[in-house]
Amino acid sequence: MSEKAELRDEAFTALFRAHVAPVRGYTRTLVLESEVENIVQATFTTAWQKFESIPRDVPRAWLFGVARMHALNLSRSQRRRAALVDAITDLRPQVATSIGALPGGIDTESVRRALEQLDDGEREIIQLAVWHEMSSAEIGEVLGIRASAARVRLHRARQHLTSLLGGRGEVET
């Protein structure tokens, strides 16, 4: 094996080990559990083939973007299949609204309902920002939009969520 190939293998191994768990976690918010491993493997197969294209500053966002693309393709094909048997359903689990336990005294149900009332795009961008702690640049990489557009969309999603929670940016605890 050439030195160049060895270096590539080492770099990819580091990338894989650092990001396979986050990619799996993110994928679980996109598809049913039975499809998660297919998406994870497809994502890293793409990463292996396109390793030189991965931006070194935001590799996690790039991987999330690829996982999202594979999940959308899967969702479309499954929807087509489902249509054949007249059983069209939304294949995406509602993980985004399956929030964990909130601190004592908080009305968890009202927060969950507010999240449900957001549209998919709003939920997704809030999820990336809050739960995956992504910057606007990273969110833009995942969604395939400019960082500035991501920033504006996040602002609007936050405003919408705030209005659904009673029009304030804060929740009494």
Binding site: G100, V111, S136, S148, R151, V152, T173
Partner: protein
């Protein structure tokens, strides 16, 4: 009771860490990948990269609404203007030089919003609210003063039409949203310009531009904006950021 920011609340309820996991089969899968020949074709760009090739434009900035209004007023008062729906002035007297005046940002109800200065005691003693009338000064700014239908003419102003055009409504919505965006986030000066352009494009304000206000100070890290309808420009400045 205390208050918690809604995003902080959601962060506390983050389910994602429980979803992240490595599995026993990961290393085997990694080895199989490393044994897979890399296709010799040029890697296609990711969807994100492909979309980013589209023409880039836009930026933004934001800051406190009060400062925005002040800067907008500064930019406007030394020149004549046709329309300034993004600024409303409340006067405590029917005079062109009242002892007290309050500048508001955009207002869908200028007379109602100025009335609050009287009911809250900013003007007068918090008692009876005088009759108010909306005028338009020679800079094109709505000025709400105590008076009747004859007052505007006496002050060498015109009576306000009491309505906004669709174009003015759009400009007001733009001003409100871009101000809120920059007030609620610490956006760097570098990010401010594309963000402002992005929002201008979304509102179809294609003939507007983004410029610098010159109000930059050392150590101030967050951008804010001032909207100048006459110059059709969003000015970027900086404010003090978080420690």
């Amino acid at each position: 009771m205390s208050v918690t920011d809604v995003f902080e609340l959601l962060a506390a309820a983050n389910p994602v860490p429980t979803l992240e996991a490595t599995l026993p089969g990961d290393e085997a899968f990694l080895r199989s990948l490393l044994d897979t020949p890399v296709e010799s074709t040029t890697p296609a760009p990711s969807p994100a990269a492909a979309r980013r090739r589209r023409a880039r434009f836009g930026i933004i900035g934001g800051g406190s609404a009060v400062v925005i209004v002040a800067l907008a007023a500064f930019a406007m008062l030394d020149r004549r203007s046709a329309e300034y729906p993004t600024l409303v002035l409340c006067y405590s007297e029917a005079s062109t030089d009242p002892p007290e005046r309050v500048a508001l940002g955009t207002s869908a109800d200028p007379i109602g919003d100025c009335r609050q200065n009287w009911t809250s005691g900013v003007f007068g003693d918090g008692g009876e609210v005088p009759q108010l009338i909306g005028c338009v000064n020679d800079s094109g700014v709505i000025v709400v003063v105590p008076g009747d239908v004859t007052t505007c003419e006496r002050l060498a102003m015109q009576r306000w039409s009491m309505s906004f055009s669709d174009e003015q409504e759009r400009l007001m919505s733009f001003t409100d949203e871009i101000s809120a965006l920059f007030a609620t986030q610490c956006i760097s000066e570098a990010d401010a310009y594309p963000t402002a352009r992005e929002m201008l494009a979304e509102y179809g304000l294609d003939d507007w531009s983004v410029g610098t206000s010159g109000f930059f100070r050392p150590g101030r890290m967050c951008a804010f904006v001032a909207v100048d309808p006459e110059l059709k420009t969003v000015f970027i400045a900086t404010r003090r950021g978080p420690p």
